[in-house]
Symmetry: C2
Subunit: 197 residues, 2 copies
DNA sequence: CACAGACTTTAACACCGTTAACTAATTAAC
DNA sequence: GTTAATTAGTTAACGGTGTTAAAGTCTGTG
């Protein structure tokens, strides 16, 4: 076998290829199996090329994490345009959260350093995460215009409930079917949102 | 430097040394920094010796995870002996959960595959975890003797709330002080326990 | 002294993240 | 047209990882 030509790609395409391949390996084999060399093989380049797009594996993971939060943000803004009622907004956003975690588990994992995914940069320093947070905080505020302190607290409660159920739901999916967990999730989030008025 | 004598130890002592060292490195540098060679260095042996005690790194992690659940179980049983009121029991157990996660974070991390800790064996297959689960389920049952299904659901809700708050509380500890998070945790767990009667 | 057995280490394999050095091809300058 | 500079990509290396086979080093016994 000689002269296998790799089809020409723009810089942007190659960059996207790296990200897509990383997520693809993570989805199929878990984040602990993602390596620069494997990514390079998949995009038909040698390993050092990957470093021309991402200075380190850590930065690649951080990029993917940011992408996750940006995606979430877009979805939240879509919901905000669709509904005016804060109660409806918060509930729908809760559902989006579940959907996202189930449909793109490798993304959710890298966002919260779950199941072998490990990104050094602390999540709380991510601007994208803070943008997402402030959207939810604003909704809660339009609900009950209390002090910043109380809003923070309610947001923390909402986030914990949602994140906890998503984590355990996916963790125990072989014991308790995901549909069942989702049902409990909807109930709980509905109850939480109700309790706010 | 010649003939550094390592003090004689029993098999049990060496085994304990391996586990302790692993946890020690994890606590100080994170689980991603724990390696067999580092452990071997610390216990003054060469790497292959570690394999005479644990067939693989994965099995070592699984052992540590089990130890965590056994510890939790002991604490839960202690609480059960101290109090008879199910409401009090469940609340105190919630507090133990928080305490444990804060005092032994490296343990909590390996139990739930958090922050770089990665243990292949699924948690839900751990007998030690199931023992812990059934203790809590029993308490909830003595509360409200409903169907197994409803108990499972309530347990899932309790566990999610607790685990979610612990995860986010420790994750955001540089943004929101741990004491503050603990306060919110206590309130929320108290409210949950109340809601059961 | 020779041999057996337990105990421990060395050396190797295949992989990892990362980087320096090298090669081949294209372009620019004279 | 020939040479120099720039670009694109590779190979090879360093120090690290989990893991295992082979080799060594003792100690006690016949």
């Amino acid at each position: 076998m000689q002269a296998i030509e790799r089809k020409p790609r723009t810089r942007e395409q190659t960059r996207m290829g790296i990200v897509l391949t990383a997520k693809d390996i993570a989805r199929r084999e878990g984040w602990q199996a993602v390596s620069i060399r494997k990514i390079a093989d998949a995009i038909e380049y040698s390993a050092p090329i990957v470093y021309e797009y991402f200075d380190s594996k850590d930065i690649l993971l951080d990029e993917i994490r940011s992408e996750g939060f940006r995606h979430l943000r877009q979805e939240y803004e879509r919901i905000n345009k669709l509904f005016r009622d804060p109660e409806k907004r918060l509930f729908e956003i809760s559902l989006i959260q579940w959907q996202f975690a189930v449909q793109q588990p490798e993304m959710y994992q890298v966002m919260y350093n779950l199941n072998g995914a490990y990104c050094t940069m602390p999540v709380y320093q991510s601007e994208e995460m803070q943008a997402v947070s402030s959207i939810v905080c604003d909704i809660i505020f339009s609900f009950i215009p209390k002090s910043k302190e109380s809003i923070q607290k309610l947001y923390f409660e909402w986030w914990s409930l949602s994140h906890g159920m998503i984590m355990l739901g996916t963790m125990l999916k072989d014991q308790q079917p995901l549909d069942k967990s989702e049902q409990v999730y909807r109930e709980s989030m509905r109850r939480f949102v109700r309790s706010l008025r």
